[in-house]
């Protein structure tokens, strides 16, 4: 019998921490991860010894990397595991931590995301599969094809895609943890180099390195350690789906629609009740596709809504106030965990210059190679 997270014991995020996302450097992954974990522990008011289980989202660094990283904090004998789910690795680690606490197996769990861009593998290559397109349809070309399809179907313009990057660069400029911290004009975004189709370099996310950590607790955990319940953010829903057969439908949008619908139903809310969203905007066209798939505006209307400022900080709903993957960056393993960090910070009212005023309910959305999608909904009461 399938049960939603909300039917388990209440789960809260009590601590968040990040190591800034950045270009690949000589910094060891252990230093990135430990910095994020220590920041999350300090934010929660906990010690490493209090952590009962650790899930680490990672995809591009090394096999079994937790061991060296957690040694720096103390080998306490807790269960640890790496979680690989492509771009959604961190989101899946967070989901596992929520399930562990919701099911009553642990009272305090940590979900960490850490990666350096050291190794990228292709499942098709590993399986010995070949097709007509082969490696010629890299992710940016996959989304360039979707962008041209969107322009054809909805009479959108390349500049309207560019406005996604303008908005998210403006947000990223307010985020000290973002890899790209420079606000860009539309002229800058549309300038060469052209990568594929209408997508320019600044419409594609940077792949770098970094780390993020979130600490998840039960109500018993909050009581036991005297934690500040006023800063606890409830996890209302955790939905995780994989692809099915979509025939000729846009499968990225379809999978997002299905997963978001499930998460909203599990949380018992509608899309209109969301105040802030962090979504998988690895390429500009994705933001338009996904806000429509989530039901935030009718199909074909996202570009107009974006131009009208509805998705700005201070708009109807803030989309990717962190800067999103486009500006905060996409170090793979940390990305989904970092989204939770931003949502929690927003719902606590602690986001400073990029604060969405009055934010109470937020959604984090990640996809992994188009084959998996995870959506988490978080809420903080008055």
């Amino acid at each position: 019998v399938s049960r939603p997270l909300q039917e388990l014991s209440p789960v809260y995020v009590i601590g968040v921490g990040l190591h800034p996302y950045q270009k690949a450097s000589a910094t060891p992954y252990t230093a990135l991860g430990v910095a994020a974990v220590r920041a999350a522990l300090a934010d929660a008011g906990l010690d490493w010894d209090n952590i009962e289980v650790a899930y680490t989202g990672t995809a591009t660094t090394a096999m079994g990397l937790s061991r060296l990283m957690y040694r720096h904090l103390g080998a306490t004998g807790i269960p640890t595991a790496q979680v690989e789910n492509a771009s959604a690795s961190g989101s899946t680690a967070f989901r596992q931590a929520c399930i562990e606490v919701g099911a009553g197996l642990s009272d305090i769990a940590i979900a960490v995301g850490v990666d350096k861009p050291l190794m990228f593998s292709s499942p098709q290559r590993a399986a010995g599969l070949h097709d007509l397109a082969g490696s010629r349809v890299a992710p940016f070309t996959h989304f360039a094809l979707l962008a041209n399809r969107y322009m054809h179907d909805h009479h959108a313009t390349p500049e309207q895609f560019g406005l996604v990057a303008v908005k998210n660069s403006r947000n990223g400029a307010l985020n000290p943890n973002a890899q790209r911290q420079k606000a860009r004009t539309l002229e800058e975004v549309m300038a060469p180099p052209q990568i594929s189709g209408p997508l320019t370099r600044l419409q594609c996310c940077p792949i770098g390195e970094g780390a993020a950590a979130t600490i998840v607790v039960s109500e018993e955990g909050i009581r036991r350690y005297g934690l500040d319940a006023s800063r606890a953010v409830r996890v209302l829903a955790s939905a995780s789906r994989s692809e099915t057969v979509y025939r000729n439908e846009n499968f990225d949008a379809a999978l997002t629609r299905e997963t978001t619908t499930q998460a909203l139903a599990d949380a018992g809310i509608t899309a209109a009740e969301l105040d802030v969203i962090e979504l998988h905007d690895a390429f500009t066209v994705e933001e338009l596709l996904y806000v429509e798939a989530m039901g935030l505006c009718p199909e074909g209307h996202a570009a107009d809504a974006l131009e009208a400022g509805e998705f700005d900080i201070g708009g109807r709903i803030a989309i990717s106030p962190s800067g999103g993957l486009l500006s905060m960056g996409h170090p793979i393993g940390p990305t989904g965990v970092g989204q939770i960090c931003e949502i929690v910070t927003q719902l606590r009212g602690e986001a400073g210059a990029r604060q969405q005023t009055g934010a109470r309910t937020g959604l984090a959305h990640m996809v992994g190679v188009g084959a998996v999608c995870l959506v988490h909904i978080l809420h903080r009461s008055e």
């Binding site: 097709d131 007509l132 397109a133 082969g134 490696s135 010629r136 349809v137 890299a138 940016f140 070309t141 360039a144 094809l145 962008a147 041209n148 399809r149 054809h152 180099p193 052209q194 990568i195 594929s196 189709g197 025939r247 000729n248």
Partner: protein, 68 residues
């Protein structure tokens, strides 16, 4: 249809054009488009042809706009 400007592979030189092709029998595939002209736009009919891609007996199915 999308023209690829950045490609690290060695099997084809950028820029080249990729397209989603709806086959008459139903399936949607992705393939390389050649002889790209203004009519190489979404909705126009294309036809497949076997193109020799090296000196060996290696052929690849590529598509071009059906001008007939």
């Amino acid at each position: 249809v999308a023209t690829v400007h950045h490609y690290p592979g060695k099997d084809i030189v950028a820029p080249f054009t990729m397209a989603e092709v709806q086959l008459d029998d139903g399936p949607l595939i992705r393939a390389t488009l050649v002889d790209v002209v203004e009519a190489s736009a979404i909705g126009n009919r294309v036809e497949g042809d076997w193109v020799q891609i090296d000196d060996d007996q290696t052929f690849e199915l590529r598509f071009s706009v059906d001008v007939s």
